[in-house]
């Protein structure tokens, strides 16, 4: 079923999530096919981050079903481990391990989770550092790198686990403007290689360029989802129109 291409690799059915009395996700349905690139946007507090964090179980959903590559996310640790091995994640605040050098950051998970031997793990790490174009920073500590470089290291770190799916949670929101494009370039490059991606981002240029589908969320609901051309030229919902007018005016 993995090779079919028709079966969704990520499937959310009627997913709801509560934080106390506050309902962060309301009955979310979504299906992502292999190789598809989804951009999720929406105002802050709309549930975008919560939704993608449910996909690798950083948050537990309260209702509905989530299937990732055939594994249903329940309380079962085996399924959670399997999903996390197949799903890479990039965070807004990089979350690099500060006490490890760049290359050690990349080697940690392959060594501990995949039991890769040290020389081989280093080789894989260097390959991905070259891919994000900072092999010369391998032996520095994260604090010695710029924000853009740190985020590229974080992307490389996730790629070292050879994931089938990549989740990006506002990867450029914490960056200085001049560093945004170096991170987006890496993401565009990944998209070209056919990586299945879900990106929460407000970079609409990126959405136009690579997204197969733009999903707009507001107040815990998916309000509208369409291919970028349709989404930007012909938004249907009033909330979508308002949001687009707010972020595209400047």
């Amino acid at each position: 079923m993995d090779e079919g291409g028709q079966q969704p690799v990520i499937l959310l059915e009627g997913v709801s999530k509560f934080f106390g009395d506050f309902q962060a996700l309301k009955d979310i349905d979504m299906a992502v096919k292999r190789g598809e690139r989804i951009v999720v946007c929406g105002p802050s507090g709309s549930g975008k981050s919560t939704m993608i964090r449910c996909i690798n179980r950083l948050e537990e959903h309260d209702k509905g079903r989530i299937l990732v590559n055939g594994h249903e996310l329940t309380g079962d640790v085996k399924d959670i481990d399997a999903v996390r091995r197949e799903v890479g994640m990039v965070f807004q605040s990089f979350n690099l391990f500060p006490h490890l050098t760049v290359v050690e950051n990349l080697m940690l998970a392959p060594r501990l989770v995949r039991k890769t031997a040290k020389p081989e793990a280093r080789e894989i790490a260097m390959r991905y550092l070259e891919r994000v174009q900072i092999p010369e920073q391998a032996d520095k500590f994260p604090s010695q790198l710029s924000g853009g470089q740190q985020q590229r290291v974080a992307i490389a770190r996730a790629l070292c686990m050879n994931p089938e799916i990549m989740l990006f949670d506002e990867p450029t929101s914490a960056l200085d403007p001049e560093m945004i494009s170096e991170v987006l370039d890496v993401m565009v490059d990944l998209a070209r290689d056919g990586m299945t991606m879900i990106c929460v981002t407000h970079e609409m240029g990126f959405a136009r360029k690579v997204a197969d589908l733009v999903v707009f969320m507001d107040q815990g609901e998916i309000v509208e989802q369409n291919p970028p051309a349709e989404f930007f030229e012909n938004p249907r919902n009033e909330r979508t129109k308002l949001f687009l007018s707010q972020i595209l005016t400047h």
Partner: protein, 229 residues
């Protein structure tokens, strides 16, 4: 009253007779205390009430009572129970040295586990999430991510505790032990010059404190080399 500087200088070497015992007490109770602290910390953060509650009770009791009182209870109180005198622990508890080590270790364990908990709580939540997202298991995250960062965060408070421990070893002199303070008290009884003798003792304690402080300073610098200066 006269003040005799030469007496201070003369009594420092005599005081050094007790330094071995002082360091012995300090080293033993620091190491045992550290082991107790790690066990207590793991129990405390296990998320299981039947482990966390005993740990919290232990911390509360030993932080909540003076070490001197604890030493007295262990030294004078415990031998009154037959089951203690017949137990495997009796060889330790019958000797004043054993009692002092037990009291100091239990104390260190309680304080240090709280110091470590502070370090553990200081580790950024985002790093745990990154570890989870990469598929690391709970114990792997604890060993490879939490521990090294928590150690760095805990060093200043821990070095403070080690210095407190050094000074707490002086309480061992109350149960007949001849540590530096014990020796000082004996010399005072012979010379009737408490002022000079205790100043001599204080000088040695200051030197030892400086060594501990300096050692932890270097250790902290080493553990912090990844932090942006």
């Amino acid at each position: 009253m006269s003040f005799d500087i030469m007496l201070i200088v003369d009594s420092i070497p005599k005081m050094l007779v007790g330094i071995g015992l002082t360091l012995h007490l300090l080293l033993l109770s620091t190491v045992i205390g550290l082991i107790l602290a790690i066990i207590t910390l793991l129990m405390r953060i296990s998320g299981r009430w039947y482990l966390a509650w005993p740990a919290m009770t232990y911390i509360y009791v030993f932080r909540g009572t003076p070490i001197l009182v604890q030493i007295f209870i262990i030294y004078y109180g415990l031998p009154q129970f037959d089951f203690i005198r017949e137990s495997f622990a009796w060889p330790v508890l019958r000797a004043p040295f054993g009692c002092a080590v037990v009291a100091l270790s239990l104390n260190a364990g309680a304080y240090v586990s709280e110091i470590m908990r502070g370090g553990v709580l200081g580790v950024d939540r985002g790093l745990h999430e990154a570890g989870k997202a990469l598929g690391l298991k709970v114990h792997q995250r604890f060993i490879y991510i939490t521990t090294p960062i928590a150690i760095r965060l805990a060093i200043p408070a821990y070095s403070n505790d080690c210095i407190s421990m050094l000074k707490a070893t002086a309480l061992a002199s109350t149960v007949t032990l001849m540590d530096m303070t014990g020796v000082a008290r004996t010399i005072v009884a012979q010379t009737f010059a408490p002022y000079e003798i205790f100043i001599a003792a204080a000088i040695i304690y200051l030197v030892l404190t400086w060594v501990i402080q300096r050692g932890f300073g270097l250790f902290e610098r080493r553990m912090s080399r990844y932090v942006k200066q």
